[in-house]
Amino acid sequence: MKGRVLVVDDDTALAEMLGIVLRGEGFEPSFVADGDKALAAFRETKPDLVLLDLMLPGRDGIEVCRLIRAESGVPIVMLTAKSDTVDVVVGLESGADDYIVKPFKPKELVARIRARLRRSEEPAPEQLAIGDLVIDVAGHSVKREGQSIALTPLEFDLLVALARKPWQVFTREVLLEQVWGYRHAADTRLVNVHVQRLRSKVEKDPERPEIVVTVRGVGYKAGPS
């Protein structure tokens, strides 16, 4: 299992500790401490996953996250000391796939990293349709009338999970388990934000979603295909 992880954190002690833990789990960590240099380091190391501290000198984590997301769909896990909704949502909206609140246990961190990396190991040829979208699961592409829509791997997974069972209403907890791979319910805000982001990409009118429909009081389901 490949596991190059780019750690973007200004706290050297924490970065070193992260390095120890990650190496212990068989990952190959590389480090950058400055937000301004993060993007360059990202291009250089081409990591499979980015661990990104939200508070950084120079460019802050949100900005770095946006820049990385602009050129790659690589999984980004945010490290944040703030668990306030606003901070979390801002981080997720800037493109992070997941977040983990400090202080975290090493096992929890590793579990989340593995969950994010795991998905790339299961390609199965499959064609799905939802609304006017055509999803090629193996080819990892979504098309509307021949036009392909760029989605991050996580958004893609979310869409596929919904599209595979269009008759089923998914609770946020179920989605967390299926898409993020968390056995124990983490934070349903993750789901909310990512559904918003997915909608902003695949819906014709994100205000009136037709692909990913909210079922009030329960969760989400795929729109009629």
Partner: protein, 702 residues
């Protein structure tokens, strides 16, 4: 006037909130006015009358409300009524003066005319006497005929002087013995002589020889309309020396016309004056009321949070001063609020920064400790144990830090509710499955009751889950390995979840104290599980944030029940809870049922859950000695005292009950201190109050 309206403005703007009081006062005043004349004293006795009054008053109610609420209407109507009164008074005075003036002139002119006429009549009579001197005295039949003719001539000649200006009437004297002799009534101008001359005037004319006058109505024989007139009469002698009555009738047509003209003019002028005064009052009041209303409206908007609203100020008059003062107030208010907001933001910022600064090193420590912990098998026993302790205490430290931050977020008002419709059964299921491992270890079983139907409420799932996890874990931990029951219910606008355990329970008075920060049930007892002492405080804050209640009940040795009540839709005030705070299987309820006593209190609880909290507090029936003393206090559970906090609401017992002998005074003092420390929202106050009650309960418990 400006003071008047200024004073009424707050009342007007506050009508919504203050309505009940205001209505009562004015309403009763109106009622008194209405009933005062009609049924003084009879109101109490007769329900029929009261019903009738209500029936009469009902259609008036909107008018009365308008009257109460609209100062402009009040002032305009008052002005109208008062000016109407003044105009009427003035009108009467003026008309009276004019009438007197007109009549005086007429009377003088008429009197001289009549005096002239009377002397002419006398002269004619004298002339006739001398002309008939030779034969007049001898014959008895002739003279009467002559006199009759003479009279006719006299009337004609007299009345010819003033055609239309007056009429002349002769009547025979009514004095006895003077009658007959063919002297019937005569009149000029078709006047009906007998009807037109009043009887009392005739009597007066007969009684002396002076001229007498009176007012009358002239009646005409030819059907002409009767007229008011002045009549002057005198007894005159005819040529025969017999007395007859000669009357001059002066119709007051002209004067009446003038008077009615004056009346008409006055009425028109008065009407105009009244209407114009009303209009002026309306305009003037509007000038004052408009700014006041504007101020009221802006004050309302200010209080609704639109702090940038200001009054428009023009000129330098009192109204402008009001506006300036108002604006200054708004400005200061805005400034203060902004300062507070800044402060709160800074506080939040500080908390967030501290959190970040603390958490980053803590994360490193935590990870290091875990690495060491994982490698402990390679260490010698002492180091290995140290690694275990380090990891365990780090866990505790972490939770404590997290809880502290959460509490400080609440204190800073930074906690935000993310409410959406959720099925609480899901939350309960998650919490219960999360608590299963602990329950297994403790050997207790968690049973969920009332989850057949969806229990949906607008709530923040994360917070509700946190509250429930806390309650369930607490119940399992303090449950002595006995069953833990989680009960769900929904009714009215509220949903409730109660967690019941059968463990050590709560000592009297502890039911409120469990929610205090860092409070411990028994300091002497070893802390087996690593709670922070903040769990229930946070849970209480979470419940409050929802506008809900978190309350506790417990009896020593009989277990406890914690009840979370949430409004079904956010922003809806709670009025009661679907689950009674004291469970049906409490020792007291069972005792009641066994004793077969009328379970008045219990029934009340079941039907009115909110009162239930109060009613439940009614003392156990077996302790009959306390019952009579409590009886006075228990039925008056004040619903408004029901706070959204952890306190069970108990009607405040009267003095002797509250300060029992075996209750150390220190307890009361401490509760005072706690109250002081908690600081002042009304909720805190509410919390403190039941605390005292808790002490009353303590007494009963012993």
């Amino acid at each position: 006037m400006s003071r008047d309206s200024a004073a009424s403005a707050p009342g007007e703007s506050g009508v919504r909130s203050g309505r009940p009081v205001g209505r009562k006062v004015t309403g009763s005043r109106w009622g008194r006015v209405l009933e005062g004349g009609l049924l003084q004293g009879g109101v109490q006795g007769s329900p029929v009358l009261r019903l009738f009054m209500r029936w009469v008053r009902r259609p008036l109610l909107p008018v009365m409300r308008l009257w109460r609420r609209n100062i402009q209407l009040k002032i305009v109507v008052t002005t109208l009524l008062m000016s109407l009164g003044v105009v009427l008074l003035l009108g009467f005075v003026v008309i009276g003066q004019v009438r007197n003036g007109l009549l005086d002139a007429k009377v003088k002119a008429s009197q001289s005319q009549a005096t002239g006429g009377f002397s002419v009549a006398k002269q004619k009579a004298d002339a006739a006497v001398t002309a008939n001197g030779d034969d007049g005295s001898s014959a008895d039949g002739r003279p009467s005929k002559n006199v009759s003719q003479w009279m006719n001539d006299l009337v004609v000649s007299l009345s010819s002087g003033g055609q239309g200006a007056f009429d002349v009437v002769t009547l025979s004297s009514t004095v006895a013995g003077n009658g007959g002799a063919g002297r019937g009534p005569r009149s000029s101008g078709d006047v009906d002589p007998t009807v037109s001359i009043p009887e009392d005037l005739r009597a007066r004319v007969d009684s002396n020889t002076m001229a007498a006058q009176s007012y009358t109505r002239v009646v005409y024989k030819d059907g002409k309309e009767s007229q008011a007139a002045l009549v002057i009469g005198k007894q005159v002698l005819d040529p025969n020396g017999d007395a007859y009555q000669l009357y001059y009738l002066f119709p007051l047509t002209q004067e009446e016309k003038s008077l009615s003209l004056v009346k008409g003019t006055l009425a028109t002028a008065g009407l105009f004056v009244v209407v114009l005064l009303g209009a002026i009052a309306w305009l003037v009041v509007r000038q004052v009321v408009t700014p006041v209303r504007m101020a009221a409206g802006i004050a309302e908007r200010l209080s609704a949070g639109r702090l940038q609203e200001r009054m428009k100020v023009t000129g330098e008059d009192d109204i402008a001063r009001l506006g300036e003062a108002f604006n200054k107030m708004a400005q200061n208010l805005q400034l203060k609020i902004q300062q507070l907001e800044d402060l709160s933001r800074m506080q939040r910022r500080f908390v967030s920064d501290v959190s970040h600064e603390l958490r980053t090193p803590l994360t490193t420590v935590r990870m290091a400790a875990d690495v060491i912990h994982d490698a402990r098998v390679d260490f010698d026993p002492v180091t290995a144990r140290s690694a275990e302790l380090l990891a365990d205490q780090l866990d505790r430290f972490e939770t404590l830090l997290a809880d502290l931050l959460e509490i400080s977020r609440f204190d800073a008002g930074a906690a935000a509710l993310e409410a959406e419709a959720i099925d609480l059964r899901e939350v309960v299921r998650r919490v219960v499955s999360g608590a299963e491992p602990l329950a297994e270890r403790k050997g207790s079983q968690i049973r969920v009751v009332g989850d057949q139907q969806p229990v949906v409420a607008e709530a923040d799932a994360r917070r509700v889950e946190r509250v429930l996890r806390n309650l369930v874990v607490n119940a399992v931990e303090h449950g002595d390995g006995k069953e833990v029951v989680v009960k769900l219910a929904t009714a009215g606008g509220a949903v409730a979840i109660a967690v019941r355990d059968y463990g050590v329970g709560l000592k009297p008075g502890e039911a409120t104290r469990v929610f205090s920060r860092f409070w411990r049930a028994d300091p002497a007892r070893a802390r087996t599980t690593g709670g922070t002492g903040l769990g229930l405080s946070i849970a209480l804050e979470d419940a409050r944030l929802h506008g809900g209640w978190l309350q506790a009940w417990g009896e020593p040795g009989g277990g406890s029940q914690f009840r979370l009540t949430l409004p079904r839709t956010a922003d809806e005030p709670l009025r009661g809870s679907p689950i009674p705070l004291e469970p049906m299987d409490s020792r007291r309820n069972r005792g009641l049922n066994d004793a077969g006593l009328p379970s008045g209190g219990g029934d009340k609880l079941a039907t009115v859950p909110m009162q239930g909290a109060g009613g439940k507090a009614a003392p156990p029936m077996q302790r009959t000695s306390v019952v009579p003393r409590m009886a006075g206090a228990s039925p008056t559970a004040d619903p408004t005292a029901l706070p959204g906090n952890g306190a069970r609401v108990v009607p405040r017992p009267s003095g002797p009950v509250r300060r029992p002998d075996d209750m150390p005074a220190a307890g009361a003092e401490r509760s005072m201190q706690e109250r002081g420390r908690d600081g002042g929202g009304p909720e805190e106050l509410g919390q403190a109050e039941p605390e005292e009650l808790g002490q009353g309960e303590a007494f009963r418990g012993r």
